[in-house]
């Protein structure tokens, strides 16, 4: 058969030639000390020697994969990608980076959504994917020791084999357990078990200087199952540090026993009013019988239940506006049933407007299209969020319980009545809240989301703008607690003034974070965000 002469070639080349050529965003602004071209070259050579030829590269084909995430941040290319295989390798990378004054950007499994691992100034991306081993899993003492490349799906699978479970995050199953636990295991549904950071027993961290630091019981030469004992423990310094203070190469986290029997129940009511909902949730939480509990408004609910847009829409239209989902476990089915029945009476006592959706009814309501079993598994065992793109924008607030109702209402108003429009841009139920009571002396947790249609790409931008409006409206009410992201936010134009105004303690937090950062990272190479000399950030690091 004779080869035809380039039939398609002309089509493709025409397409290429007509394309507008963008300026390649790799060019970082000139930096007098860090990431100098000659130092990058030297660092690459040293890294190849230290890690092996295969595991360090500056090839554009590879760096391109780390230049962008789903956030709106314009892509920025790193100079080098390094894949360490061990703690020693990580230490060597930091040593080389210090020697050459090249920045290092810690990277777990790369599921970040708001530019957190995009290298603002170039430098080395330290990718954990070769370090993906579950080093130990202890059924008797309920813990696992893992490397940073282990994701929730992998760990949950191994834990389940031994009758245990991991505290679930509200994140894709593919995210790094280590990263997500350090980032508070954000939005966890496992309210009974605290935040992810409460589940960290110990960690091994390579500091930006290349020194290896053990925190937790191991620092004292003790077993993870033992109480850490006297003296200070530096484990908490890693919380929310976002890789600014080093790189965690091993972590021991708590696991929990999985119940022999599971039951869910689904109280719901159609009113768009949260008063009775908050009371019911709080009662259930105080009773401490359920393993998982959350409130889900219908649009939020839909994105988890539906596997695609069609299913989601069917679900959103079919279920009531406000839903509680609680998961109960027991050694026997009867025990789980007793807990459910008791919880039912508690909810009914709060208000008679609650009704209880039976699982069969729920499947029927959405035309048999929903995989209820799979959803339940999401909820109680497996990491749940898979649908990320364009489906929601998270406005996560840690709020006081009493203030919750007003904040949610104000945010909704801000979103649906935007300036410059005669109509609400979003229907009221396009904005949706997810609420969870933390009852161990903590505040309530509110997540406020906007839902866009996944097939409508423009909708995403509208939601984004709406989210900001809602976010700052809520902040003006003094309700936003932007917890520990101080080391990231420091020096950002506007925010370093606005956040302390909303929350006076934030100024202290930023001061502490800055001092700690300068101590452990004297050359400012690890996830560099702001200049030590000026105290300001040149580049906006998130979103």
């Amino acid at each position: 058969m004779k080869r035809p002469q380039a039939l398609a070639k002309s089509i493709y080349l025409k397409d290429m030639d007509n394309r507008r050529v963008l300026k390649r965003p790799k060019k970082m602004e000139a930096d007098p000390t860090h990431n100098l071209p000659e130092n990058i070259e030297k660092a690459l050579k040293l890294l190849k020697g230290a890690l092996g030829e295969e595991w360090a590269t500056a090839d554009d084909a590879v760096t391109a994969g780390y230049a962008r995430d789903q956030g709106f941040k314009h892509c920025m290319y790193p100079d080098i990608i390094a894949l360490p295989g061990s703690t020693d390798d990580v230490a060597k990378i930091f040593q080389i980076a210090n020697e050459c004054l090249v920045d290092v950007m810690p990277y777990g499994t790369g599921c970040n959504t708001v530019g957190l691992t995009i290298p603002l100034f170039g430098g080395i991306i330290l990718d954990a994917r070769r370090m993906d081993q579950i080093l130990a899993i202890d059924k008797d003492n309920l813990y696992a020791r893992i490397q940073p490349g282990v994701n929730y799906c992998m760990l949950q699978a191994e834990a389940q084999k031994l009758g245990m479970r991991v505290a679930n995050p509200s994140a894709p199953a593919t995210v790094s357990v280590v990263s997500n636990h350090l980032f508070c295991n954000i939005n966890t549904m496992a309210s009974k078990f605290g935040f992810g950071m409460d589940n960290i027993i110990e960690a091994q961290v390579v500091l930006p200087t290349g020194e290896v630091l053990e925190v937790g019981p191991r620092a004292y030469g003790m077993d993870p199952a033992q109480v850490a004992g006297f003296g200070p423990d530096m484990a908490t310094m890693l919380r929310f540090a976002m890789g600014t203070l080093g790189y965690v190469t091993e972590m021991t986290i708590r696991l929990y026993s999985a119940p022999a029997f599971d039951l869910e129940f689904y109280p719901a009511y159609p009113d768009d009013d949260l008063t009775d909902l908050i009371e019911a949730l709080y009662r259930l939480a105080r009773d401490n019988q359920c393993l998982e509990i959350a409130h889900l408004q219908n649009t939020f609910y839909g994105i988890f239940m539906g596997e695609n847009n069609k299913e989601t829409e069917a679900f959103v239209d079919a279920v009531p506006r406000n839903n509680i989902m609680a998961h109960f476990g027991g050694a026997t089915e009867e025990e789980a049933r007793i807990k459910v029945d008791y919880a039912r009476t508690q909810v009914q006592e709060v208000s008679e407007k609650y009704f209880f959706i039976e699982p069969e009814m729920m499947v029927e309501m959405v035309g048999g299209k929903i995989h209820l079993d799979r959803w339940n598994k999401f909820f109680r065992e497996t990491v749940r969020v898979q649908r990320v793109r364009g489906s929601f924008i998270i406005g996560a607030l840690v709020n006081s319980l009493e203030n919750f109702y007003e904040v949610e209402k104000t945010m909704r108003r801000a979103v649906t009545n935007q300036v410059g429009t005669t109509d609400g841009i979003f229907r009221p139920d396009d904005a949706s809240a997810y609420f969870q009571p933390y009852h161990m002396g903590r505040m309530a947790y509110l997540e406020f989301d906007l839902y866009t249609h996944q097939d409508d790409k423009d909708d995403f931008l509208r939601a984004y703008m709406g989210f900001f409006r809602a976010f700052f409206t809520a902040q003006a009410m003094g309700s936003v607690a932007a917890a520990g992201t101080a080391s990231l936010l420091k020096g950002l134009p506007g925010l370093d003034i606005a956040l302390p105004m909303a929350q006076p303690e934030f100024a202290n937090l930023m001061g502490l974070a800055a001092a700690l950062k300068q101590t452990v990272d004297p050359n400012d190479i690890c996830n560099r965000r702001w200049d030590y000399d000026t105290g300001t950030a040149k580049k906006f690091s998130i979103f």
């Binding site: 084909a61 391109a64 793109r389």
Partner: protein, 403 residues
């Protein structure tokens, strides 16, 4: 050759939204999370699991497409390495499309087409395949005339000379490779027992063009497709049975809209014959077997149940599922023409699949794709494994006496 003979020609840039909106959730790196029971078997992207850099997963290849189309980067040897180590197994798309409506596999296919069209694509290791196809009309470089001998050997009609209702499209591998002759003979025997009026094209059968599509040479593929369709139509066949999973996917996806004959894979045909009582399986020696879903038969054509039904019909066989099966199947290592350029990498993937079979405790991995059979056999040798690889047709045929 006709322009736009098969699929409507698509451009990579038409998938701009797909690669621009990939959210890097990494769902494409592994299997469906609710179906993962062991950490090791979460991973399902052959190239990503081996080379680890982002560029070797679908999420990174989406960036390769984006960055190249925007001229942010130029093609480097590592770019080509990342592109041609993809086995096009479609595991990424299996995970991504249902939840994100993104087509990562299609983007990779079109990136390869772009590579060929712009002249920077393909690797020196691919040259013999193209040369063979140009000179001999089959990618193995064997004389076409040898295929004529099969008409007598199999005792089937010469479809080039006489009309037949059922055309058996044998494919290059089964036509020439001695180690596959047994499966081919079994296929013909089973079809005859099922009272199918079978013919083959002999030397008139050309390569289906699957290797060309996998390499991104769509123009050249269409030359083969046009000629094959013309010759198949001339036989008056109502059904075209393919033996190879790669042929099956090309027939179903590319040929079918342009011919009257209905393409089916042999496992579909045989399972229907078993269900209709036209065939009855005999007894097999006791063994534990697992079906290895070829990517192109399973994920692409969704032929999952038919081969399992065939195995279940054979008394004596105990069928178990591999940890990664059906939509989660792991490539055998021989997809996307990657192993032709990087044989060691292909072998690594095959060894992992054989490990999985050992883990499941099976005696035999059963499949119906010559590419898989070949690679899994290499994997067995590489691991010094006791597991055997067996063609499903041979297994059924032997249960019926093998005569």
């Amino acid at each position: 050759m006709k322009e736009n003979l098969t699929k409507t020609r698509e451009l990579l840039s038409q998938y701009r939204e797909d690669y621009a909106l990939c959210s890097k959730c990494k769902i494409c790196h592994g299997n469906h999370v609710q179906e993962v029971n062991h950490a090791r078997f979460f991973r399902n992207c052959p190239s990503g699991s081996r080379f680890r850099y982002e560029a070797y997963y679908a999420s990174g290849r989406m960036e390769l497409a984006r960055a190249l189309n925007l001229k942010e980067i130029t093609v480097t040897p590592q770019y080509k390495h990342a592109l041609y180590t993809c086995m096009e197994c479609g595991s990424c798309q299996e995970q991504c499309y249902p939840v994100k409506q993104i087509f990562p596999l299609r983007v990779i296919e079109l990136l390869r087409e772009k590579a060929v069209a712009e002249g920077w694509g393909l690797l020196p290791e691919h040259a013999p395949i193209l040369k063979n196809l140009e000179e001999t009309d089959n990618f193995l470089g064997k004389p076409q005339a040898e295929r004529d001998k099969l008409i007598a050997e199999l005792g089937v009609k010469d479809a080039a000379k006489e009309k037949c209702k059922v055309l058996l499209f044998i494919g290059c591998q089964y036509s020439y490779k001695p180690e596959l002759k047994k499966a081919l003979t079994s296929a013909a025997r089973l079809l005859k027992k099922a009272k199918a009026e079978v013919g083959i094209l002999g030397s008139q059968e050309l390569c289906c063009g699957a290797p060309l599509l996998e390499l991104g040479d769509r123009d050249f593929f269409e030359s083969f497709a046009a000629e094959n369709i013309k010759r198949i139509e001339a036989t008056g066949a109502e059904t075209v049975i393919t033996l190879c999973a790669h042929c099956a996917s090309v027939f179903a996806e590319e040929y079918a809209p342009f011919m009257n004959a209905q393409p089916v894979h042999i496992t579909q045909y045989i399972s229907e014959a078993l269900a209709a009582g036209k065939l009855k399986a005999g007894k097999s020696a006791k063994s534990t077997v697992a079906w290895h879903d070829p990517c192109r038969l399973g994920r692409r054509l969704k032929v999952y149940d038919e081969p399992r039904a065939i195995l279940d019909a054979i008394p004596g066989l105990k069928r178990v599922e591999l940890e990664r099966s059906k939509g989660n199947t792991l490539c055998c290592g021989n997809g996307g023409m990657a192993a032709q350029a990087y044989p060691e990498f292909g072998l690594d993937v095959a060894k992992e699949r054989v490990f999985e079979a050992e883990f499941a405790g099976v005696d035999k991995i059963v499949t119906a794709c010559p590419w898989c059979e070949e690679m899994l056999q290499d994997g067995i040798v590489g691991r010094k494994s006791k597991v055997q690889v067996e063609n499903i047709l041979t297994l059924l045929d032997e249960s019926m006496g093998g005569k």
